[in-house]
Amino acid sequence: MEKHKLICINCPMGCHLEVTKTENGGWLVEGNQCKRGTSYAIRELTEPTRVLTSTVIIKNGFLPRLPVRTETAIPKEKIYKAMDVINKVVVEAPVKVGDVIVENILDTGINVIASRNM
């Protein structure tokens, strides 16, 4: 039986998870203190994802950089390619928190949004 040790990154609790692949192809997750731990563990071992946060250039803003983030987690292997896209973006103030800055980044179906007003 395949066993994995993981640390849940869903929240700052950082639960220590023990994940076992069962004989019928399912997963047994132990050590989590909430149900998000189970879905995290399975996703982490099959198709890991991360929320990406960065900044884009903003013109005529209070600051020269606007913080942005992906609305939800994107596939981990696309993080660097997503950075390449984000690094080319220039926006103009005013921007409101939640405004879409990059639509459907790398065809993930996930938008990059502004994470503050400026």
């Binding site: 020269p64 983030r69 503050r116």
Partner: protein, 420 residues
């Protein structure tokens, strides 16, 4: 001299939550004083996600978390002053402050909330040998340069200290194209949250060297290299274990210091364990009507806990102004014993506790499968099993007030008990 019911010093997450909560509890004339160019404090540069899971049940970035409180504060028409430096707080609650618009001002407050936060320990505070070229930054300074001002601080980076800001910056600099060669921690365990080790270092194959420190910085104008070495149990470098890196930048994430100059000027007593003021259940310092909350009291890992603590300070200040705080009745002190480095609050007057008593503490080292034992003098009140305890992760205990009432004890103690 101007008059206010409540003056809040510091417009970061602690000050914002305290001011809003005080208003919700009936305090009319409130002023928040902030020395930076905008409200929100350090959250404005913490663009990573993970804030708000407890308070909003969602995962927000720092600016988003701050933004919600700023919007609420403004909707309540709570007054605030930016770019304003408080010079002195007297024990009779007169605030002396200065800014370019008003010049020198004095304000008489009925109650004061101290929420100045903390600052980073710098290179000067940790005695690193070697030269002093440019390219040595605290992690928070680098974070502000990159995330707010748009300046990249270096290309090849070594990070000393594994506090959360250092870990977050290891990832951030990597994403922005820098090569982070190593994170070096003098202690045998990391000072940051475990999840940050996973998502900031492991994800990017950045090595973490525990029980190692920087023993030399090379370079005259700019950092040219850094040498690290393993340390023994007395934190002395072990000859023969040196590793040298060619790098242009050294980031320091070597601890945070609560910023308590004003607290001391106001005459409030400081706890040598937290480096913050002694506080009671209502977050009041040893000075009547002067309250404190957030990182100025003790350095938190999570802003959500800062918010909860600051709301308590806001309610406490409101009750003080309305003469509703009870100063007699059943009271006790808290005392950290075996394995526990500090407990906040340090004193409790039971009649002011709402439903539950919230206790925050840190342990001295890493423990596995132990119990936290809470006692009133020698009588056990509660035992809590803990699978993992680490100094980098603050523990939050909640005791129902009815488990404490009617008992008479002088000290509530908390200790770590290892299984036999």
């Amino acid at each position: 001299m101007e008059n206010y019911d409540l003056v809040v010093i510091g417009g970061g997450p602690a000050g914002l939550a305290a001011a809003i909560e005080a208003r919700k509890n009936g305090v009319e004339k409130i002023l928040v004083i902030e020395r930076d160019r905008e409200l929100g404090g350090i959250l404005q540069q913490c663009i990573h996600n993970g804030f708000g899971l407890h308070v909003f049940n969602e995962e927000l970035s720092g600016p988003e978390y701050a933004g919600r409180f700023i919007t609420e504060l403004m909707s309540m028409d709570i007054e605030y002053k930016l770019d304003t430096m408080v010079l002195d707080v007297t024990d009779d609650k007169v605030i002396h402050a200065i800014n370019q618009q008003d010049g020198y001002i004095t304000i008489q407050a009925k109650a004061v909330i101290l929420s100045m936060g903390c600052r980073e320990r710098t290179a000067g505070a940790i005695n690193i040998p070697g030269t002093r070229p440019s390219g040595v930054f605290t992690a928070g300074t680098a974070q502000r340069f990159i995330n707010m001002e748009g300046y990249m601080v270096g290309k090849r980076v070594v990070i000393l200290g594994s506090g959360d800001i250092g870990l977050i910056m290891a990832r951030r600099m990597t994403l922005e194209g820098a090569k982070v060669l190593a994170v070096v921690e003098v202690l045998p365990y990391s000072g940051g949250l475990t999840r940050n080790i996973v998502q900031c270092l492991d994800d990017f194959d950045i090595p973490l060297y525990l029980s190692h420190t920087v023993i030399d910085i090379k370079g005259n104008k700019r950092v040219e290299g850094v040498t690290i070495a393993e340390v023994d149990e007395n934190r002395k470098p072990i000859p023969g274990t040196e590793i040298s890196y060619d790098c242009d930048t050294l980031l320091l994430s070597v601890g945070l210091i609560p910023e308590n100059e004003l607290t001391a000027q106001a005459g409030a007593q400081l706890d040598p364990h937290t480096n913050g003021p002694f506080v009671n259940e209502s977050m009041e310092t040893s000075r009547d009507g002067i309250f404190a909350c957030g990182n100025v009291v003790h350095v938190h890992d999570l802003v959500d806990f800062v918010t909860e603590e600051s709301r308590r300070a806001g309610r406490g200040a409101a009750r003080y102004i309305q003469n509703k705080l009870v100063s007699n009745g059943q009271a006790f002190k808290t005392k950290p014993l075996n394995g526990v480095s500090y407990i906040v609050p340090q004193t409790v007057r039971i009649e002011n506790v709402e439903k539950n008593l919230d206790l925050f503490l840190r342990v001295r080292k890493v423990y596995k499968n132990v119990k936290l034992v809470i006692k009133g003098d020698d009588e056990v009140i509660k035992e809590i099993k803990k699978r993992n305890l680490a100094p980098g992760e603050m523990e939050h205990l909640t005791l129902p007030v009815n488990s404490l009432t009617g008992k008479s004890f002088e000290y509530l103690t908390i200790e770590v008990k290892e299984e036999a």
